[in-house]
């Protein structure tokens, strides 16, 4: 889903670049000073995990897919810190030639800003519903995996909308890119489940939804009572 330079018109790249800068500035303001220094190395590890999982593609004939990781990192660290992790990973990916420099804003908007906020809200809603029926660790695993599936498909749909600016893509292209990501998103959900399972077992304190989380202060950044998952 990393769009290279030279595909979408320059005006769209510039608009989404400005929008993305606004999201990144907001995210920095939301995270700054709310983070415990002891949790920083865990966040570095998360960035490394997401980079590695985006680096290799799994087969989905006739195409392929890779992890996006936005929902997972947003559930762990809250949407704003998650957004910054994705911004960092996408920057390195752009340096690696995967996704353009001019389209960085568009790629960040799709896989970072939108996907972190949408995925986090959806996962939070699912988590609250599931927590009544199962223990919170199972609930966070199931909620995050399901939300990552839906978020990947919706992010692909949004990319398809943006690609309407490309002559020849059209409504058929929109349907196809959304449809193929409905299959690719199964891989996203499975990888999300496996990686989350590791962190749930090994370091549950960096999952903002769980009781006793050391990063819970980052998660209710929307400052609304309904956005406090630990309550």
């Amino acid at each position: 889903m990393h769009v290279p330079d030279g595909v979408v018109p320059l005006y769209l790249q510039l608009i989404l670049f400005v929008v993305s800068i606004a999201f990144i500035v907001t995210a920095v303001r939301r995270v700054n000073g709310r983070l415990d220094e002891r949790t920083v190395p865990y966040i570095g590890v998360l960035a490394a995990v997401i980079f590695a999982a985006q680096f290799v593609n799994f087969p989905v004939p006739p195409s392929s897919g890779h992890l996006i990781g936005s929902t997972m990192v947003a559930v762990m660290l809250g949407p704003w810190a998650g957004m910054l992790v994705i911004a960092l990973v996408l920057f390195i990916q752009a340096l690696y030639g995967d996704g353009g420099m001019l389209t960085y804003g568009l790629n960040f908007f799709n896989m970072g800003a939108f996907s972190c906020l949408f995925g986090w809200l959806l996962a939070l809603s699912l988590f609250k519903a599931l927590k009544k029926r199962m223990d919170e660790k199972r609930a966070v695993l199931v909620a995050t995996s399901l939300a990552s599936y839906v978020t990947t498909v919706v992010a692909a749909f949004i990319l398809g909308i943006e690609l309407q600016t490309v002559p020849g893509f059209g409504v058929a292209g929109l349907l196809v890119i959304t449809g193929i990501h409905a299959v690719i998103a199964v891989g996203e959900a499975v990888l999300t489940f496996v990686i989350m399972l590791y962190f749930v077992k090994a370091r549950p304190q960096i999952i903002s939804f769980l009781s006793g989380s050391e990063v819970a202060e980052l998660a209710p950044a929307v400052d609304a009572p309904w956005a406090r998952p630990a309550e």
Partner: protein, 95 residues
């Protein structure tokens, strides 16, 4: 985080990540098919693929599985280090 925790958790995870990347790439388990976006745009809609763009900072090394493993390993380490730098700068210093 204590230094012990860094040695006990962070370094092993990074080593395992690099090992998994090496096994997946050298074991030819990576798909060379275009990703979903590229397939929909370039294969299905037949939009011309842009050429002559920036190919990445490691393009001078050429192509091949070993180059991929080295680039991936360096990327994992760069992501870890930049993550540490960025978030340490935003962390509060006292508990």
């Amino acid at each position: 985080m204590e230094r012990d925790e860094f040695v006990r958790f962070v370094i092993p995870v990074v080593i395992v990540l690099i090992a998994i990347l090496a096994v997946v790439i050298l074991g030819n388990l990576v798909s060379s098919n275009p990703d979903g976006f590229e397939w929909a745009l370039f294969e299905f809609a037949h939009v011309s693929e842009p050429t002559g763009g920036f190919e990445g900072i490691w393009a001078f090394l050429g192509e091949g599985p070993l180059v991929e493993v080295v680039a991936g390993a360096l990327g994992v380490i760069i992501a870890l280090m930049l993550g540490l730098l960025l978030f340490r700068a935003m962390a509060r210093k006292e508990r």
